[in-house]
Symmetry: C2
Subunit: 199 residues, 2 copies
Amino acid sequence: MKETTDELMDATYAALCKHGYASLRMQDIADESSKSKATLHYYYDSKQDLLYALLDYLQESFADRIETLEGDTAADQLVALIETYLTPMNEDSMQEFRTALLEIKAQCPYDEQFRTELDDFDRILHDRFQSILEAGQETGVFRDDFDPDRTADFIVTILNGVQTRHVAVGHPLEQTRETLETYITEHLLAPDRAEVSLE
Amino acid sequence: MKETTDELMDATYAALCKHGYASLRMQDIADESSKSKATLHYYYDSKQDLLYALLDYLQESFADRIETLEGDTAADQLVALIETYLTPMNEDSMQEFRTALLEIKAQCPYDEQFRTELDDFDRILHDRFQSILEAGQETGVFRDDFDPDRTADFIVTILNGVQTRHVAVGHPLEQTRETLETYITEHLLAPDRAEVSLE
């Protein structure tokens, strides 16, 4: 079953990126896998169920990826976490995935399960930022005059804005990276620390 | 014609808020106005054309609203601009409008005209923030060690994030207001200035 799940999740991801959320059909997902539409229906009732499963799957994979972050200091780990967020699972379809995810976010007020999935994702991201900020304050990498909870919340808001503006008006991610570097260097790092650099 | 335009724009706005972008039909817009669907088609080819016209209309109205902002100092005007952005034209359907707007943002990669409309809106907002920040630096209300263009860009990104997270996971606007107050007070205001307060 594990193999089938992996295949169906890959197929759902690929079909979502190719067709977008609004026009996605079960058949599109079947077309991306070796399974028939009937087989898909054996495992999942609807396209919606496949999408819930996909969000679960991506969330677990994201949680795994951010559990251990590269970098010796909390500042490096902060940068690594931002980079992980800005770079989805499959780089080839990055832009398409961002667009589909924004479509799904806009569905949340109509779909309780989408909201629950994205709420979990939001919390995982926030908590990881908070733990890095706390660790960095303890080791003196970060200033001690900001609240790690509030600041983590602020960063998650900024990253949401980055994705939205990138999808909506094509705002360049490069410019955002520079702005985030400046924010971290000037407002979070302890005064004697070297500046950070996002790739 | 002005009266008809105003009526049709109000009807499009109301129908968009009620039905969301994806399931909106010409008939839904006619139902919100005194006109028949046939009359709507006389003025506009499609639902899409009505939505483009609505975005134009909202943009002009927004540009008017932010041309003159309440407040004696640049700091007060900065706060007034943020509040204007966070409070759409019609307060009763605020939440529905934010959701519909996020749906439209997610359509931008598929729809050149939506992108153009939202790009204009993005630029108007950015430029207004920049002019306030510049004026505030000249009068000594703001610190002189930040770049007004970059900082305006950062604030627009943050506001996009605020709207997206609010729609997607119900992140409280109250908390965002506090975080923005802290950001402005600690990082933008000149050191001897009193802190700002968002309503």
